[in-house]
């Protein structure tokens, strides 16, 4: 990319450098949900039209963007900035679970949507948070994993297909 910009578009390169520099200096974490933001509270948490009864829990800020862009979800988020991984020394404290517990303890919250990845670590993180939800009397739901819509079965890897099979639903 650097060569391309040097050869053809130095202006764009400078604009990119300026916005990257601004981002590096000005962007921090939302004090409520840990999403990237340039103010104290991120736009989603600050939006009064958002449904405060639901919290969608994801591993990364990019996951927030993905859910925002592709689903009708209008609740709030909590970004873990990773997943539980004892082998890497990452426990509940590193994921800000204390703050999440406070959020789940609020009366208005009734559902936690666990949208961590279907990896071993992501699943373990979801299970751990589901236990916390149970203590707080919050309904925990897990997003479905399986065959991509528009995909063909023969090209789906065996782990995903096995997962999709186990989670099959009644039709009609």
């Amino acid at each position: 990319m650097a060569f391309h910009l040097l050869e053809r578009d130095r202006d764009a390169g400078l604009r990119l450098a300026a916005s990257l520099s601004a981002a590096m200096e000005g962007i921090g974490e939302c004090s409520r949900c840990r999403m990237f933001t340039d103010s104290e509270i991120c736009v989603v948490c600050a939006d009064p039209s958002r449904d405060v009864a639901a919290v969608c829990i994801v591993e990364t800020p990019a996951d927030v963007m993905a859910v925002e862009q592709s689903t009708p979800y209008r609740g709030r988020y909590f970004v873990l900035m990773g997943h539980l991984s004892p082998l890497d020394g990452i426990g509940p404290a590193e994921l800000g679970l204390e703050r999440l517990e406070t959020i789940l303890g609020r009366e208005e919250v009734t559902e936690a949507i666990l949208a961590t990845n279907p990896t071993v670590e992501g699943e373990a993180t979801a299970r751990f948070i589901a236990d916390v939800c149970q203590e707080k009397g919050v309904r925990a739901t897990r997003i479905a994993h399986g065959v991509p819509v528009g995909g063909e079965l023969e090209f789906v890897d065996s782990g995903t297909l096995a997962h999709a099979f186990a989670g099959r639903q009644t039709i009609g």
Binding site: L84, S85, P86, L87, G89, G91, P92, V120, E121, E123, A124, T125, A126, R127, F128, D131, S158, G159, L161, A162
Partner: protein, 355 residues
């Protein structure tokens, strides 16, 4: 599946060797240290990712050379494939059909190999790890989803052990133990299904090779009265003290029992070899029946540890099994009346087809 071409470069004592084997029975004869075993070992290392006689990879490179290579062109139901392995400086690089392969499974699923060599009785007399590996390779070839469950189990197991080492004893262990329980169920079931298929075939080979009934039974490595999760939760203190998780399918075993009407009690080394050979032959046949694809069976030094009568029975069994077989021996006379489809003479690292 059959190997149609094998090329070996600088592997152990072998320089540059090209072999065009027959799809059926191939026989290699030559003196000790001529390179027969190395030839079989090269093929095995490619198919399994490890040697059956060395744990380190760098010893596989020929003295004074930088790298060893093994390249196979094989032909199976799914068509032809090419697989290659390069070992240099303790590192192994795999390629399949001209593309780098990320792990051993990519080659192994195309090139199933089993070996009967003079140490095969370790399968009977050695520790449970040998027998677990034996069973797991069959499951791997027959049930593709097994590998995923196995990897997830291993990962959760390592996380649990790390947590115990960090001093955790409470609910932070729960999610990892739940994952282990979930995958253990899939692993145990798949192993039991495979073993149920293998058992009658091993029994048949056992009765024809040594007139004895061989019984195999799965031992899961954890109790059956309660779930694995409950047992793991109850064993946290003990596991922390021992620095390892002592219950679970990673501690499973296949119990081998030989009932011999004439010789109850201790089983001789020769008999052990035949028990182990029956197990391998049964596995080979099971995989062929369950997947419709036969593996390559490697038999190194066929007559070792066996008296003439027993060698005869083993050769008879080998002549009747489906698929490609590679047999080595010191001398042509060692295979008696067996009629190989192709015969090779191995001498000082050179392999020559004999017409």
């Amino acid at each position: 599946m059959a190997v149609r071409k094998l090329r070996v470069e600088d592997f152990r004592c072998l320089g540059e060797v090209d072999v065009d084997p027959a799809t059926g029975l191939n026989f290699f004869y030559g003196e000790n240290a001529s390179g027969k075993t190395s030839l079989l070992e090269a093929l095995f290392v490619l198919g399994r990712g490890r040697s059956f006689r060395a744990s380190r990879k760098d010893v596989l490179i020929r003295d004074g050379k930088d790298a060893a290579r093994v390249i196979v062109r094989g032909e199976g139901h799914a068509g032809t494939f090419q697989a290659g392995l390069e070992i240099s400086g303790g590192r192994a690089e795999l390629r399949v059909n001209g593309e780098p392969a990320s792990n051993v499974a990519d080659v192994a699923e195309r090139l199933p190999v089993e070996v009967i060599d003079p140490d095969v009785q370790d399968l009977v007399s050695g520790g449970p790890a040998e027998r677990r590996r034996y069973l797991d390779w069959s499951v791997f070839h027959v049930e593709p989803s097994f590998l995923g469950a196995w990897r997830r189990y291993q990962r959760a197991l390592r996380h649990r052990t790390a947590l115990l080492r960090q001093g955790a004893r409470g609910r932070e262990l729960d999610p990892w133990e739940e994952e282990m329980e979930l995958r253990a169920r899939a692993i145990d079931e798949a192993r039991q299904r495979a073993l149920a298929g293998i058992v009658p075939l091993v029994r048949d080979f056992g009765s024809s090779l040594l007139d004895a009934e061989i019984r195999l039974a799965y031992r899961a490595g954890h109790g059956e009265d309660s779930s694995l999760g409950t047992q793991l939760a109850a064993g946290r203190e003990r596991d922390a003290k021992m620095g390892q998780t002592v219950k679970g399918p990673h501690r499973a075993d296949v119990h081998v029992e030989v009932f011999d009407r004439r010789a109850r009690g201790r089983v001789s080394r020769g008999q052990q070899k035949l028990v182990a050979a029956s197990m391998i032959l049964g596995q080979h046949r099971y995989q062929a029946e369950a997947t419709g694809e036969t593996g390559v069976l490697l038999v190194d030094d066929v007559s070792a540890e066996l008296d003439r009568g027993r060698v005869g029975r083993l050769l008879e069994a080998l002549s009747s099994i489906p698929g490609q077989v590679w047999i080595t021996a010191l001398d042509r006379s060692d295979i008696g009346n067996l009629q190989p489809d192709r015969m090779f003479h191995v001498e000082q690292g050179k392999v020559t087809a004999v017409v």
